[in-house]
Symmetry: C2
Subunit: 332 residues, 2 copies
Amino acid sequence: MQKTFFIGIDIGATRIKTGLVTHDGTLVSKDNFETSRLTSPGHFLEISKRTIDLLMKTNDIERKSIGGIGVGAPGWTSYSDGVVHELTNIPGWHDIPLATLLRDETGFPAFVDNDANVMATGELIHGAGRGYRHFICLTLGTGVGGSIVTEGNIWRGVHGLAGEIGHMSVDLNGPHCACGARGCLERYVGNRFIVENALAKLKERSPSGGENTITKLSDGNPKNVTPELLSEAAALGDDIAIRVWEETGHYLGVALAVLVNVLNPECFIIGGGVAKAGEFLFGPIRRTMEALAMNRLGEKTKLLKARLEADAGIIGAATFARNCAEISYRPS
Amino acid sequence: MQKTFFIGIDIGATRIKTGLVTHDGTLVSKDNFETSRLTSPGHFLEISKRTIDLLMKTNDIERKSIGGIGVGAPGWTSYSDGVVHELTNIPGWHDIPLATLLRDETGFPAFVDNDANVMATGELIHGAGRGYRHFICLTLGTGVGGSIVTEGNIWRGVHGLAGEIGHMSVDLNGPHCACGARGCLERYVGNRFIVENALAKLKERSPSGGENTITKLSDGNPKNVTPELLSEAAALGDDIAIRVWEETGHYLGVALAVLVNVLNPECFIIGGGVAKAGEFLFGPIRRTMEALAMNRLGEKTKLLKARLEADAGIIGAATFARNCAEISYRPS
């Protein structure tokens, strides 16, 4: 039987978001919890149970209408057995059989994958990836998440660890990255490094701290400078912000050209906070990718903006649950 | 009916090799022709027909025992319709429907793919790739050929152009590559650049041209320095040759670590002339890959030497024909 609703849980660095999503990918209702307040995996189960009960009650939904729970977790997860091996930035999770625990706690079928993969699943089924079978999703934020879709399925790799596009080195002599390599893409286009680039350019322009659009928008406090603020400044014509997005786009374009040469996908789908910079970012990405990819393939490879936006994690996780549940229920 | 023999044709930069190969990948007999003497695609058909007739006659093989012809071509080919769009370093081939022409000329089913893909097919079925489903083949020579195998099939990409591992940039500010990008892997580990590196190191050591193992082996003539000679020099303990292989291995290791992070394959299979340097090359590749890949995956990803060696192109092309012919003949 086709179920009507699926639960999506998006474990993020700042918030854990839980939502009730229809079979066709519409988010009906959602709730969230501060990640920093999470004390343990057991606590996560308790909160999830309570939130799901609340969402069902508020929306007057019966248990039998729920097809399953999907979780997108930021870290190393085993999709096949639903185990979370490690979470990035959330301590205390080691080899937790989350799918099993969540199923036991709630009584619903539960499935776990990493956050980049569930977002790609959401875009594939309900978002910018509809109609494409071979594409690569990038989620730009604190880190750079990646997921590779081929023949309409996520390419997970042998140990489930494929897709680390943020850790493609674009300069073997570049700055050291936390992963141990040098010149990783994330080291140039992760939120923190975008902001550092802007602050360095501001300082270079006026070492004593003169006024410009960025300083005005940030009330002169460097701590207020974020990628969102830099998007705003670029839209107001600020040349430093525009240059920062150009450089960020150039680094992304270099990595995308390599991916075009190696994997020859139909398109790239780019989401996450940084993607809000729009053409200030997408223009330079496209120019560099077209200039560097072989066989003029850069011109044939589409560059799309992710469509599910802020709720991409919840909708993706619910869609992932839908896919898993429907495959499991398929008569064999 | 399962056929006993397949013809493999390997179009190389210096020689076109044609061989008669058994169903289980044994090369029975072969012949070759200098690529530089080739005047046109029509000439190629004529020579191929004559060579195949000769191989059949010499080995007393009947037409009905031949299952098909496979061609590995260095360039842009369309696997699905057997068209050769462009050949690298061989002028005059533009959009040639080679599979159709070869079938018309010989009466045998014919199939065309690029050289890196047929070599990967050979290694997959008869070589180092047996028992692996997800791996990446690299063929080191004038250029760096690449082919990606997933679920036991070649990943061709949307336009059939995937696998250009030689054109992964490892340094976005590196030296210009003929493809238009900068710092491509091939620009460091292609034959010519390995030799240039050795010659530069020799000059640095003794600007006036002193004696060492490399100069002795090459009779003091820089034109005689080849990767093969550098392998020999390394085996004799020459420190410059050893350093050249270390640096070559380091560049390869950087690219392989990126591929581990992005695709998480089971193993890499490395073949081609340069692979003859053995541990002088493989040791540094492995060390760099292990140091740079995430999640300690470098230690879990095997580094294998291609097994089909000098005849890899012929055996691969014949094996590719076998696969295609048997799929075509499969009752539907």
